[in-house]
Assembly symmetry: C2
Homo-oligomer: 333 residues x 2
């Protein structure tokens, strides 16, 4: 990746601007991940917390605090909190997803990993909880406990709604808020609260995180059907094969003829898929223009995110957050 490309990416610009604080957050994460009595814990989390990862969520907290020139250190604890919650969620998703994908053929290793994933995820939740209590802010605790409930409820809702053709755009939005937007909006909101931002500014930070998260997730779901495997790392149609009801399909189901509805029932609800079904699904989405409509929705949420920034202080960070909203949907052609 050449330098010209690198500096153009807003999350990398943020990472440069917040480099010292990010380093402090990483050090805090490593310290709090450690367990005197259970060395398996950092073993399990290392590959998730240490390696790669854009640290997008903790950066949103640090960015919000920087917007208000916060000079304490509680934002570091909150950034680590947010990353711990994110990692715990990933660990528990692994259990849920792996169980479904390798149905009937688990290995001893898979089962051991399931145990580790559940218990180490719980450990990270508990650690995140300790970190946020240390800030001594009941307001922050209120926000993060509500976000935790929204996340958990969204996950359960996704499980039950995934293969149910009755799932409409309203339910989809609730799922997306749970799986992605709730943590984005909590991340930006607590960064403002801890910095003493006004009520109006805190609300704007919430709105920005919420809309950014929704745009991000809709883009992800759209790219599953039209992305380039080389850049997304996913194969086209993974969600279809895994029978996940995402926005492009929900929009097509809403307009389906009786015959088309039977197709969706067979392939998604019953999971009876044959060669050519993915192509037919794509043709139906093409027929009703649902990929294009989904793209417009994502762009609309990115616009909402940018609009929310208007209530925030004029600051270099605000410009980068503006670009970040464009960036999460820039992948959509």
């Amino acid at each position: 990746m050449d330098i010209a490309t690198r500096v153009a990416k807003p999350h990398e610009e943020l990472a440069d601007l917040l480099a010292d604080e990010l380093q402090a957050v990483n050090a805090l994460i490593r310290r709090r991940m450690a367990s005197e009595h259970a060395p398996r814990i950092p073993e399990v989390t290392a590959h998730l917390v240490e390696a790669g990862g854009k640290r997008l969520r903790p950066m949103l907290t640090l960015a919000a605090a920087r917007l208000f020139e916060y000079d304490g250190d509680h934002h570091l604890r909150l950034a680590a909190t947010v990353e711990f919650i994110h990692t715990a969620t990933l660990l528990h998703d692994d259990v849920v997803d792996e169980s479904a994908q390798r149905r009937g053929r688990p290995t001893a290793n898979l089962l051991w990993d399931n145990k580790s994933s559940v218990l180490v995820g719980d450990y990270l939740f508990a650690r995140s909880f300790q970190l946020m209590v240390e800030t001594g802010s009941l307001r922050v605790l209120d926000i993060l406990s509500n976000a935790a409930a929204t996340i958990a409820e969204g996950e359960v809702l996704q499980m039950t709604a995934a293969t149910d053709l009755g799932t409409d755009e309203g339910v989809y939005l609730q799922v997306v808020r749970g799986k992605t937007a709730a943590l984005f909006s909590a991340a930006t909101e607590v960064g403002g609260v801890i910095s003493g931002a006004s009520e109006q500014e805190v609300r704007a930070l919430f709105d920005y995180g919420d809309a950014l998260g929704i745009a991000f997730q809709i883009a992800d779901d759209l790219l599953d059907y039209q992305g380039d495997a080389k850049t997304t790392g996913k194969n086209v149609g993974d969600d279809f094969r895994e029978r996940k009801l995402t926005l492009p399909v929900i929009k097509a189901v809403a307009q389906a003829t009786a015959e088309e509805r039977a197709f969706w029932q067979r392939t998604i609800e019953k999971g009876q898929q044959a060669e050519g079904d993915l192509d037919h699904a794509l043709a139906l989405m093409e027929k009703y223009g649902t990929l294009e409509a989904t793209r417009r929705d994502a762009l609309g949420w990115a616009e909402k995110a940018k609009a929310a920034l208007g209530a925030l202080p004029d600051h270099p960070v605000r410009r980068i957050l503006h670009e970040l909203a464009d960036y999460v949907v820039a992948r959509l052609t």
Copy 2:
């Protein structure tokens, strides 16, 4: 069960004394368990939260508050919090235990339950977190976040230590604190904190809950080897078959000859068990008197629990808590 037996049980005496508050806690639990968007949640938790269950942990919180004649309503939230944490832990334990027991042969139903167990457990954790934040007490949040970390760490430690013959009594005690005593002691401690008890009294409440929980768990582990299946509902030797290193075995391993050590390595570490192995294990425990030594340990912790009560106000509840400590080890002959 005749009335004479019923009134003799201290946890039932507590339940009578705290009947109104317990009813309020049950109503609160039902309200907070409900999910507008995800009806599957109460479905999964109902059999755990609604049916049976002695409500021992929430009663400990209510009892501690009654000791100090607390007249607010935060103790109800904390009692519900404690029960939610307990239920979430049970749900996650299900995943961990079922995976191991039915290794290699999961059913679709089992997998669906795994998903539900992980995600609904997370939901209950989040709900418990919201409830405790509502008390507005940072001290309470500090106690419960630390308990959550101890519980999670204990669970991970148990997973790695279970079949490791290097596990000594110190590690066993940490595991027991995590899986049982940490929630008992947090339950009694927060009941005192919310009622404005003195530092000395709060410490005594912690010590009582801690020792009671340890006595309770050691008794449970002992009854696995010498209990009556009719009263315990467990078969003798379940822990042996599941290769769980509990106190009676740990004490026998510590004194084992080279040949005996090889036996424990084969049956517990490697899990290669044959007919007659349980009898041999029991004979080794008999040889070193480890069942009797374990019983003495449990009785010792019950004595510690009762001694802690000395620092608490003279009150009918204190008498029942005293009897409760005797009761948890009274099953041991």
